[in-house]
Amino acid sequence: MVHDNEIVEILLVEDNPNDAELTMRALKKSRLANNLLWLKDGAEALDYIFSKGAYENRNMDIVPKVILLDLKMPKVDGIEVLSKLKSDERTKVIPVVVLTSSKEEPDIKKCYSLGANSYIVKPVDFEKFITAVSQISLYWLLTNHPPR
């Protein structure tokens, strides 16, 4: 369990530990994995972001630079997390990158209409996977300039 007010730059919401590991490996390769927090389902992610439940002592003003969000998760799925984040004034500015296996058109449309900032299909090819994750994280952590 991470400390309540530890600085988190990347929030990874992913139920599949294999995918989480692959993602983190990709980020490590780009030296971006230092301030990463991995949450295993949507419910936990919502608790963290809105400082509720296990995270009620967390300072809500400290927001991650980017959230990497899987869609298919037990309990609360990625779509619901996205919808709650983007409908709240406090959290709607946080960039959300949907990182999922689905190439289904309805999923893509739904995510973008809810306000997702990017939609990445996880490639099966490992090299391509590494490239995709690195590029997206580099962009959101370093290239992008969020509002203060």
């Binding site: 599949n16 294999n18 995918d19 692959l22 490996r25 869609l71 298919k72 999922t100 296996s101 689905s102 190439k103 289904e104 058109e105 996880k122 490639p123 099966v124 090819d125 490992f126 090299e127 996977f129």
Partner: protein
């Protein structure tokens, strides 16, 4: 303005007015003094065709002529009343055929009372005359109405033309028969009457002429007698005086003269210088003789050598006591002297009056055409006499004239006739210069003639009424069964359908009776047929209802089944959707794990593996990636099968060209010659057809790249009215014996080593084309190339 309308609206009514006036102008005399006028024929036509006001105008125009013709304005009144009466009744009579009846009613109701008032009360005409006028007008009116009606019937074209704006005008058979029969009776009777009237007139006139001739001869001989007698007396006196030298006034002579010549007032003997020698009667002491011996008279007698007449009035105003002198020259003692007898003309008049009846007249004229004597004491004596100046004169046989006086004020023609006379002017033979004008009054004969007229008219009227009744009866006998039949057979089909009993009229006319019988038979058989048809119809209707119900049931069942199937399909579709979703998400994750972890093993532990171990790991990774490609193609195939078609018009040339451009890498462009021919537009789902072109063109590229001089041709041709799109290459081709399997999913004709692929591309092509209702096929010969063709009939 339209000439036809002008003719109908203006010219034709004008023509009718002119004809009505002419009809009165060219009348025919039925009897003397009674003209048959034709004007009302046209007045009636006007009333029928142009209504009340035109009719009134026409009647007034025609009737104004009667003022000239008859000299009184009263006929104008009854003729205008006639038009008004008939016009009013016609207004309520739609078919306008009752004119004969209206005419027949007008005269007894209004016309005859008017005639009585005007003739009898105002113009003081005799009752016989009034009666004749009444009857004549009645006959004239009815006859003209019948003629007008017949004119309408015999010229139905004209009436149809004039009535064209009010609908066609069809006379009924009753009307036609009625008019024909009445005209057949009325016209001949009018003609017979007219001829008989003339004949009667001629007979009575010749009788009158004879009477006048006799009368005039009686007068002339009477005058002759008188003159002869007095001449003889004067001659005797003269001879007495000359031979015996007797005095005229001796007793014997006086007595003789008085006896033989009672009217001889004076007798005297004068010398030619006017010296009175002798005088009779001798007691005459008045100064008549000296006064009468005017120089003119002396001159007359001195020049005479034989007896002559000389008129002398004892008064300067010549109002009475006209004298006539008869002079006889004699010689006494070698001297020429004259014996003169003076006769008072009143005496002569009285003599003449005695020989004629009281109503016969005479006028005696001297050689200067001055009145010497007259039966009429109003005629001034010794005045010039001309009876011709105040009336109309018609010349008859034997120098007889019919003189019709003008009369004072308004006098109807027949009254003038009544006052008219038949006159004859006769010279008294042997007495040059003496004329007798004698006359008999027409009135004496008129009464008996008019009695004849009245009975003729009465017979005529009776004939007309009889003819009308007869024609009505006959026309009814003929027309009633027909009218009945036409009434009964109106709406015949409905009557037969409702099964009402058809009671046809009977007729005593054999043809009609046969017609009725035939009609009855026809109606019966029709009725039977109708019943059959109705029965069949009802049956048919029943069957149709039954069938409709069955079809409806089947339809409902079918609908239920369609709903059921749709539900099942929807369910299957949802399942498939869920399945795809799951596949998309859940099958990839393990594959990614296999690939990822294999990669991590080869990255982190490659130094701990030998070559064989590394090869195994690579094989694992390759298969994981292939598995992922298979999943992608499967999902894509399934999606193209499920998604709705979004139809629009597509420019196939542009679509194929863009696909070629997209697929053409530098390598491909260098090695292959790809051409896109001109293609028309198609109607279909743009995204799906794009996928078709991608799959076909990429296939062609894939199988042509290995060959040198690779060539790919894309285009379309029209075959059997269908547009066939094709992709033709000269690549490796395939064996036609496997062409059937070509489009099946995962079916491949080449090894994975030679050509990569999942075997889903052509299956997708087939599915898309089939969803468009088209057909896809391939022809090839091994190593020579292949043609892939498809049609889109949409």
């Amino acid at each position: 303005m339209n000439i036809k309308i002008a003719f109908k609206r203006i010219l034709f009514p004008m023509l009718l007015i002119v004809l009505s006036v002419l009809g009165n102008l060219y009348s025919i005399p039925l009897f003397p003094g009674f003209d048959y006028l034709f004007g009302t024929i046209f007045v009636q036509l006007m009333l029928i065709f142009y209504g009340f006001w035109w009719g009134l105008l026409c009647a007034a125009s025609a009737a104004s002529f009667t003022i000239l013709l008859w000299g009184h304005p009263y006929a104008f009144i009854w003729y205008v009343f006639e038009a008004a009466f008939v016009g009013m009744l016609l207004r309520t009579d739609k078919r306008r055929l009752g004119i004969v009846v209206y005419e027949a009613a007008y005269w007894p109701l209004i016309g005859m009372p008017l005639i009585y008032i005007f003739f009898s009360q105002i113009m003081n005409a005799g009752i016989n005359n009034v009666l004749i006028v009444m009857l004549k007008q009645w006959v004239n009116g009815i006859t003209n109405a019948v003629i007008a009606l017949v004119l309408i019937y015999i010229a139905p074209g004209l009436s149809a033309y004039l009535h064209s704006d009010k609908g066609r005008f069809y006379p009924s058979i009753k009307n036609i028969l009625f008019s024909l029969l009445s005209i057949l009776v009325i016209i001949p009777s009018i003609a017979v009457m007219s001829f008989y009237g003339r004949y009667q007139k001629n007979v009575s006139e010749s009788r009158i002429v004879d009477d006048v001739r006799n009368l005039s001869e009686r007068y002339t001989s009477a005058v002759d007698n008188i003159i002869d007698r007095y001449s003889a007396v004067v001659a005797l006196a003269a001879s007495l005086d000359s031979t015996m030298n007797l005095r005229l006034n001796n007793a014997v002579a006086s007595e003789n003269i008085k006896r033989t010549a009672p009217g001889l007032s004076y007798l005297f003997v004068i010398e030619k210088n006017g010296k009175l020698i002798d005088v009779y009667p001798d007691n005459k002491t008045d100064d008549f003789i000296p006064k009468s011996l005017t120089p003119d008279f002396i001159k007359h007698i001195s020049e005479a050598d034989k007896p002559f007449l000389y008129e002398f009035s004892s008064f300067p105003d010549k109002s009475s006591d006209l004298w006539t002198f008869l002079a006889e020259p004699i010689k006494i003692k070698k001297n020429k002297v004259f014996v003169v007898g003076a006769i008072n003309i009143n005496f002569v008049s009285n003599l003449l009056k005695n020989i004629s009846a009281s109503n016969e007249t005479f006028v005696l004229l001297n050689k200067d055409r001055r009145v010497l004597a007259s039966s009429n004491s109003n005629i001034k004596l010794f005045e010039p006499y001309d009876f011709l100046n105040s009336g109309e004169i018609v010349s008859k046989d034997y120098g007889v004239y019919h003189f019709i006086p003008k009369g004072d004020g308004i006098v109807p023609l027949i009254e003038r006739y009544k006052r008219s006379i038949f006159v004859r002017e006769t010279a008294v033979p042997g007495h040059a210069g003496l004329w007798i004008i004698c006359s008999v009054p027409f009135a004496d004969y008129q009464a008996s003639i008019y009695k004849g007229y009245i009975s003729s008219l009465a017979i005529m009227m009776a004939l007309i009424l009889f003819a009308l009744l007869l024609s009505l009866t006959v026309s009814r006998t003929v027309s009633r069964p027909l009218a009945d039949l036409s009434l009964k057979t109106t709406d015949l089909p409905n009557k037969l359908l409702t099964g009402s009993v058809l009671t046809l009229p009977s007729s005593r006319v054999s043809e009609f009776s046969a017609l009725m019988e035939n009609f009855r038979i026809m109606a019966d058989s029709l009725s039977e047929k109708f019943r059959e048809i109705k029965h069949t119809n009802e049956n048919l209707e029943h069957i149709v209802l039954e069938r409709t119900r069955e079809i409806k049931e089947l339809n409902e069942e079918l609908e239920q089944r369609v709903i059921q199937r749709t539900k099942e399909l929807e369910y299957a579709n949802n399942e498939l959707e869920a399945f795809s979703y799951t596949v998309s998400h859940d099958l990839r994750a393990p594959l990614r794990a296999i690939e990822g972890y294999s990669a991590m093993v080869s990255e982190d532990y490659s130094d701990k593996l030998d070559d064989e171990g590394r090869r195994y790991l690579n094989t694992i990774r390759a298969n994981a990636i292939k598995m992922s490609d298979l999943i992608d193609d499967m999902l894509s195939f399934s999606r193209l099968s499920r998604d709705d078609l979004k139809l629009c018009t597509i420019n196939m040339y542009e679509l194929a060209s863009s696909v070629v451009k997209e697929l053409s890498t530098a390598d491909i462009t260098a090695k292959l010659n790809i051409s896109v021919g001109n293609m028309g537009s198609a109607f279909g789902d743009s995204a799906m057809l794009r996928q078709v072109w991608i799959n076909l063109i990429s296939n062609a590229i894939k199988f042509t790249l290995p060959k040198a001089d690779g060539k790919i041709e894309i285009g379309s041709v029209v075959k059997n009215g269908n547009v066939v799109y094709y992709v033709k290459d000269n690549g490796v081709g395939f064996d036609m014996q496997y062409s059937g399997k070509l489009f099946n999913v995962f079916q491949r004709l080449h090894s994975q080593q030679d050509f990569e692929g999942t075997g889903v591309g052509l299956a997708i092509v087939k599915r898309v084309i089939e969803r468009h209702g088209g057909r896809v096929w391939a022809e090839s010969s091994l190593s020579e190339g292949s043609i892939f063709s498809f049609t889109i009939p949409l």
